[in-house]
Symmetry: C2
Subunit: 229 residues, 2 copies
Amino acid sequence: MDTEFKEAYFNTAIVTSVVLFGFEDDKLKILTIPQEFEPFKGASVLPSKYVRVNDSVESKVKEIMNELTDVDFEYAEQLKAFTKVFRNPLGRVVNIAFYALVKINDEVLARCEKNNAKWEDYNQIPDLAFDHNEIIDYAKERLKRRVKRRPIGFLLLPKYFTINQLQKLYEIALDREMDKRNFRKKIFNSELIIETDMEDTSGRKAAKLYKFDEERYEKLSLKGYDFLF
Amino acid sequence: MDTEFKEAYFNTAIVTSVVLFGFEDDKLKILTIPQEFEPFKGASVLPSKYVRVNDSVESKVKEIMNELTDVDFEYAEQLKAFTKVFRNPLGRVVNIAFYALVKINDEVLARCEKNNAKWEDYNQIPDLAFDHNEIIDYAKERLKRRVKRRPIGFLLLPKYFTINQLQKLYEIALDREMDKRNFRKKIFNSELIIETDMEDTSGRKAAKLYKFDEERYEKLSLKGYDFLF
DNA sequence: CCAAAAGTGTTCGGAATACACCCATGA
DNA sequence: TCATGGGTGTATTCCGAACACTTTTGG
């Protein structure tokens, strides 16, 4: 069709931003990086990329994650499109935001450092440019919902973890304190975690280490199993 | 900035589609209309509009709803962006889809007829053009979740309704049969509905008519109340 | 008179909650 | 030795699920 039509409608840019959640030092964290270009150059933002006309949005999310973590891909899911009409001199930008979960390890930390990225505390997110704080709020709500229905804790914690680490994670994500005994009861009833013979000896008293039973989870998921926290 | 940059990034069209849910004849319905232009002219699609550079997406959703219903606005909420790279000769199109709830009445039916729109049965949605069936599947999931946490039945039913109508709605949305006695217990426990002295005499035995207690719901919502179905 | 839809209570089991003390160890 | 964090069991309450019969009336 004619150029006039094309110019009237095909004139929006797509950006994708990723709210990357990680767990470190018994705390939930969200990754921010300094904005590379104008506008807001230097301000903290969520890791983001333009989506060009033949790019899939998901491939851009993967690129972001591959640059900042050491695994091909862990878990990402679209939140929604953020469409506020910003006064960007270049034109209209729509942000298709994702939330994603990664296990933080030394390699991840090294890559983040190389990119000047910073893991901000879940409860102390600084002011970010654009509407990125709004995106984070939305992502937190999504996390809250997901954590109740799917065992996503296992995507955030290291392979071997203590029950107390898991509980900390739930407490932060759900924003409430929980009773130790009731928490253990619920977790062990789910039969999704396996006790190992390893221990975490970093605290006062050694703590048993557990791992997630992925096989069992796959099987249960197929049968319409609900995690229900 | 330079035109080259602008052409490289600002070249996507935004469309919004609305999955409009209604309840009529004891059944949940979704509205489709015939596609007006190529491609797929004449095929059934979800009501949709281009979003131009200075339009808010929400305003376009309202336009769609105002054309097809008789109220300014009832309830709409973004689902997510559908971003598949379609072979549209014009270029890349991103669809920011919404789901919305309306009360079907004679005025609505008249407007729909005028627009050749059709209320399709929730469980017998025909093949639609583009990825609109995928959007509907996503909307159904959202409805399922919402119906459990918020009393959205009251946005779909007429002002006065019977308990059995409400139950039918829940049964379709949640895709399972429910026990009459348990259903009533749960609904009455919520204290969100008010008995009226009217009756629906269209069936064999007259049925009591109820209405939603909006005031009470507002108050409860403020206190972080959860509907929990 | 009978088919079809409205209306109504009780019992049971499982899950959520509340709650308090002992143990091991590093400082 | 004591402060810190790990680990454990029971009683109560509440909610969801299962379940069957009576009433009204249009055909």
